[in-house]
Symmetry: D2
Subunit: 399 residues, 4 copies
């Protein structure tokens, strides 16, 4: 049995630290999912999620992981053989591609070095070249959780408008929603994909799609087999606050509370808080003499900071030292970054002192694991938080 | 806002009343799903579910509704055009059939009157006639939640053995598992389908497949598109107590506790308790001068009792009277039973006095809704519970 | 370990069934009891309790049992040798008397038979005879939890006014408050004593005094040693929402929620609900051919029903049968009623079906314990709840 | 409404951060306090508290604050006019003295400067001079929460033995128990006083007395009025796991879990953890160029660190800055320290990263509040935690 002498620091970039209010909301007796009290809840959470996605169009809530919502985006709108344009931003883009391959999509994968957002120039080039509009969808990861690099969906939208490409724009904002600005309607997103366990501050177990009319129209003519993920039936049932199958009632209680908390703080304040924490974390990394995976200021994620280990030092060994000495979980390096980076999550229910505990844990872990570094990261982070050092805000930060 | 002056009686046949211990277990901080503490939990719950299914073969746990586990059973083992034999036992059999149709299976649907278990004679006839073994799977609902009629999977297995048919045997035991005897291995089931929100006493949000080697072999050669539901990757990850995507961590805490409670009571005691409550409920119905949907003693479900309304009386109007006067949710009539029956759930975390409160609520509701009936159902039920009236045990009860 | 296969029925007359909302409210991180967020809570719960006591005068909240609040009433206003008039209504009156004896009060104890409220005629006689006003306080138990007999404080107030006696009127309403009408100001009560674990629907751990200006004035000149229970310091600190010592923070969260629930239902509805349940319980007792301890309709408690066992049958043996067979706790007979009565609590978070489960448990327990009785109590109770039998309302019921 | 964007840092020296396990344990339905399941709990927690106090003699658990347990110690063993020797170590010693005065004890108060443990030389002198043994009790505060100075009870015991003084030794270990070594039996303590909301990691609401045979004997001949606090009845009832009045059931659930957590970690590890955190906190204070209230290494508390503000700077203004900017509650200066010191609690459910978040909050608060200080406290603390700087252990630390 693991002995926790205080609170575990869950600083992976999701699942994130779930607020007590959300846990307690979830911890209430399950309701009849066909009764009037539930219907009220159902309508409430759907409207709440529309506000979070900033959309007036349908939001679908699945009992699923975020992965399930990826699959839903595909099976509703695309068929085997359909051409799609994806961008290699990291492991989650790669996994989504893998999923798309299982459904036999024809994938044009814009290469990337896992240290940047999507290659926008290349995307524009390929879209412009696609005169026949063979590309049915452009699929982008908003906040690439494996690298801490952001691809701004509005940048992609501008490109598509510029080259007048009619493809659907699909965005995975699993670890972006509720942490970074997101505008499903204003940015012209056709399918947004999200999950409960990041900025929404819930345990894992809910997946989301926000869908545009255009996406809905595409789904009507799409012949891919689907049932569980099928939008149509769900949207129909949702009008009365119900679902075609038993929804994950208690996670919906949690969702109501999570969104209430986001709105009490104010979404804009939530976004500003994440940016501030991102800036402080990067200041720490710099002071340690280490390098963030993300290079360009336009790409830095406000939700997590991925850090390169010095050559010859294993990131997972370091993470183990941190876990065993300081009861903190850091994110592992995924796929090609395995052992080479670690990731600091600062998404969700979080504040300055939790961040400082986190960064102190990293700094002490570097010391104990004998990873070459300079002391003082925590000092640099405090200077950002107290405003002593003025941080040049990233474009993300002022978007 | 609904005012509850005491505990709501959630007597639909699932979701069921979730024990405080399970809710409280769920109400704990989310863990790193890639860390060692989680791995211990992962291995624990998989083993626990193997004991509940009574299998030594893999059990897959999905973040999904039970419906998702239906879909998983199909997409892993069957392809469009495959012939399957299903039996019309009620609404859930019909829904599963509808799902199978969406995946373009070729369905042979043995008709039923929604008042019995599956027509075993007809199943045997059709299987025997299928000399070419075109039928790839026999798909049966164990406890038909829409009617309260049981189809005993071991009966179907005996038929298949008798006619030496090699089809897969797939069983939906969503509302059976943890309430009625179930033996995945001993009964030669190939795919079992279950959900968290019935006999396992959890909130909705988890779906389950238990799979045989034969089903696994079938999945290896099956070319149906799938990713989320794909067994292979999950089984591989499960060996280390992890999942290929973020599992519904907090529902897994709940699952650990729910199975612990079943095992503290003892599964055999759990089954006996449900039978006793079923017998008491049926005694009440009989005393009221009403009729259960289920006719044959072999078919009576220990988990719920569906009751026919007297001609000219609307079941949903009656349910509304009960809800508004007594804060009790009863199950609605589904599909062709709409308005004609109501269902009394006695699954899960339940005891004699909860049952008596439930039956008293029905009897008083009949009175207030002016439904013709005789008083005394609660008396008859008490006689069963105290042993004053010896109830001829159904075959289900002694299975 | 005790195995509970469903919810335990906690039908002692307190502690009562605590609502999930109250438990969950209590289950939140403890706050700084000297900070601004706590101060808001402090002011909130004091105001809330004033509304429940129906007073504009101070309410003091102790981290204590109700017994502590008894002691507080005494040590703040009375000194050793002071004469007080008490009435023997049952065990709690007797215990309060015992406490008063420990503080060397000179107690005039009006005798009673433990089957009625206080002997008002005798009280009037003794007060009238006390021309010198030696009696400093009249101390009455509102709802005598050991017998289910009510003494109406307003009746006592009328007597005191009639004979123009200036003694303080002190009322133990531990099991009355939040279940029966109570008017601290309008009825001219000087010290009210209450506890958290009855009609307020909280776990035990808080005691209350509501005090009049007259009582406060008495406390100022009273020289009894006291510190923990001293009103003065607490009232002073309470003005800022704080306490002179660390208050039971999490029980205060519970209190906020408990009162919120009472007010959502409406106190008058709460009282009517208790009366209705009392009437139904008494109808059941009558139908069983048993006798309630309370004899006069003016005295019947809406909060609990005490039942006499037939001669030669041990009430505690019966209670054991009920506990072991039906997982229900009934109240034991106290002191001279030991073994001779059992008590059915229907206070607090309660509804018709919980009552019916309770009464069914009693009826089945009588059967299993072979206690002579007629069947049909549950039927009689249902007739009251459905309005089929019109119950002559007690004076308590229309007060 | 206060918006918390992450967890509040409750760094007052009690109430302390309550572990989720303890909160969740408390959040379970209330039991019949006269039933067998409760009796098991009662016996369990009494035995558990005996292990924590390291005593085989009775432990009494009150529904009360720690203040109540102070009063209990006095009213059980002492009468008005009795002479007692107390030592002015700070506000809590002063408050206990105030309480003793209310009960008209004759108090010899050994003066102190609120920056040290008790003046042991002076205590020895006064005890030695008391040839007639007029002094009935020596009353000491183990861990003076208002200053962070420890008086080691075993030191006092040695003095009493040396001068062969038969007075009772009473120790307030409210904020010591469960954080600092404590040996009720081995150190010859007669009455120990404790509370739930510090090292036991519970919410406030329980007070404790551990009592020696000698103290019990004294109580038998002591004529002070008492009822609620009376040991005798409670000890008698406790033998069967019950109480003479309704105990605070749900706080007892919490107590069971809190002690379980202490024992899973191991009490010796718990003590070592607190010392380590104390050393790190003092290193931070020193690095800031500030001064701890506690001067001598023998006196430093492992449970909290009190810090002197630079002349001309108001501690409460600083605390407000910290609360508003960093959602952290620090302890205020009490009485003569009002405005001049702040206190950092590191008691209870706590770990290195929580400490680092705490110290970072202090350092950033000093910056924002423009309190003169040197940066680098957090660095110095990290050096202690990583073992880079070897801290000369205080005698307390090696006791």
């Amino acid at each position: 049995m693991t002995v926790h002498t205080g609170r575990h620091f869950l600083q992976i970039p999701g699942p994130t630290n779930v607020p007590d209010r959300v846990l307690r909301a979830m911890d209430m007796p399950t309701l009849d999912h066909r009764g009037p009290e539930f219907a009220e809840l159902g309508l409430h959470v759907i409207a709440a999620m529309q506000r979070v996605f900033r959309t007036k169009q349908p939001v679908i809530i699945y009992p699923s992981s975020g992965t399930g919502a990826w699959e839903a985006a595909i099976v509703n709108t695309l068929s085997s053989g359909d051409k799609v344009l994806m961008a290699e931003t990291g492991q989650f883009a790669t996994l989504w591609r893998g999923l798309a391959e299982k459904f036999k999509l024809d994938i044009d994968f814009v290469p990337g070095d896992w240290r940047h957002g999507a290659d926008l120039a290349e995307i524009e080039k390929r879209l412009a070249a696609d005169k026949s509009h063979a590309i049915k969808a452009v699929m982008i990861v908003h906040n690439e959780t494996s690298t801490g690099c952001v691809t701004h969906p509005q940048d992609v939208r501008k490109i598509m408008d510029r080259v007048k490409h009619p493809a659907l724009l699909m965005v995975d904002t699993v670890s972006g929603l509720g942490s970074l600005e997101y505008e499903h309607d204003a940015w012209g997103i056709d399918v947004s994909v999200a999950g409960s366990q990041k900025g929404l501050m819930l345990p894992p177990g809910l997946g989301f799609n926000a869908v545009s009319d255009k996406a809905l129209a595409a789904s009507k003519t799409n012949s891919s087999f689907r049932s569980y993920w099928d939008w149509e039936e769900i949207i129909a049932a949702n009008k009365l606050g119900s679902w075609p199958y038993t929804p994950a009632t208690n996670l919906l209680y949690a969702l109501k509370e999570g969104v209430a908390m986001l709105e009490e703080e104010g979404l804009d304040n939530v976004f500003a808080r994440h940016k501030r924490h991102g800036a402080a974390a990067r200041a720490a990394v710099k002071a340690w003499g280490l390098e963030t995976v993300s290079i360009e200021s336009h790409d830095h994620s406000p939700a997590l900071t991925a850090v390169l280990m010095p050559e010859g030092h294993d990131a997972d060994k370091f993470r183990k030292v941190v876990l065993e000495n300081f009861d903190m979980s850091l994110g592992t390096g995924l796929n090609k970054w395995k052992g080479k980076i670690f990731r600091i999550g600062h998404i969700g229910h979080f504040n300055d002192l939790m961040l400082m505990g986190t960064l102190a844990g990293v700094e002490m872990g570097l010391e104990l694991a004998k990873v070459p570094h300079r002391a003082g990261g925590v000092m640099a982070a405090m200077d950002v938080l107290t405003g002593k050092s003025v941080v040049p805000m990233t474009k993300a930060a002022v978007a």
